[in-house]
């Protein structure tokens, strides 16, 4: 799980071109949207593509998506639950 979280942080910083923050500066439980990391709905769409391409995990339902994409931790939990990989 720890390796997955480190990898996710790097991928998200790279995919969303986050220039002002280093991957290891992102708190694993920080909300990614709104007052947290400050991502927006367009970033959410890019995250969905990232999860599908890199992990084969689909996020379709908007309500479910809000919960899954809440933080790095919730994304990692979902990937682990879907793929069964630690």
């Amino acid at each position: 799980m720890k390796d997955l979280i480190v990898k996710l942080k790097k991928q998200i910083v790279a995919e969303l071109y986050l220039e002002d923050i280093a991957p290891d500066e992102i708190d694993t439980d920080l909300p990614l949207f709104g007052d947290g990391l400050g991502l927006d709905s367009i970033d959410a769409l890019s995250l969905v593509v990232l999860l599908e391409k890199e992990y084969g995990v689909q996020v379709v339902d908007p309500e479910e998506g809000k919960a899954i994409l809440y933080s790095i931790q919730t994304i990692a939990n979902h990937i682990q639950a879907q793929t069964g990989k630690p």
Binding site: S41, I42, A44, L45, S46, V48, V49, E52, K53, Q58, V59, V60, D61, P62, E63, G65
Partner: protein, 142 residues
């Protein structure tokens, strides 16, 4: 293998009501010119707002960029070129180029981004099947 690039062109002529005190097209009107470009694109490639709405989606513009390079004056004819920019994400992106017909000069460039919103007002996270089918039909997605 990359897909086809879809582009549509439409002509406009600057109206009296579109020029400002400096005698040139007021900067805000370019938003409408981009809309004209999108409408022309939709007619050419059967990709209209109404089709999306009939399938339960609205497609609001969430991001726009405009670069003003030259100006247009009253009664000047111009061409709006609208190009669809494909993305794996559930969004509709266009690039625009407005050129003066008489001189061929590039007047404005820009881009817009739209997302899909469902009937409940929620952001649609993955491309609707009809959008993917449309891309395949026109060779954008191969």
């Amino acid at each position: 293998m990359s897909g086809k690039i879809l582009t549509a062109c439409t002509d406009i002529r600057v109206r009296f009501s579109e020029v400002d005190m400096m005698g040139v097209v007021w900067h805000g009107h370019y938003v409408k010119f981009f809309e004209d470009g999108r409408e022309a694109f939709a007619r050419k490639y059967q990709f209209s707002y109404l089709d999306a709405m009939n399938q339960g989606y609205s497609t609001p513009v969430v991001k726009m960029n405009i670069n003003y390079k030259k100006s247009l004056r009253y009664n000047e004819p111009a061409t709006i070129e609208t190009t669809f920019i494909d993305s794996e994400a559930a969004k509709i992106q266009y690039d625009y180029r407005i050129t003066a017909q008489k001189t061929g000069e590039l007047i404005t460039t820009g881009s817009t981004m739209q997302v899909f919103v469902d009937r409940r007002g929620d952001l649609v996270l993955s491309s609707p099947p009809s959008f993917i089918q449309w891309k395949k039909k026109w060779g954008v997605l191969v």
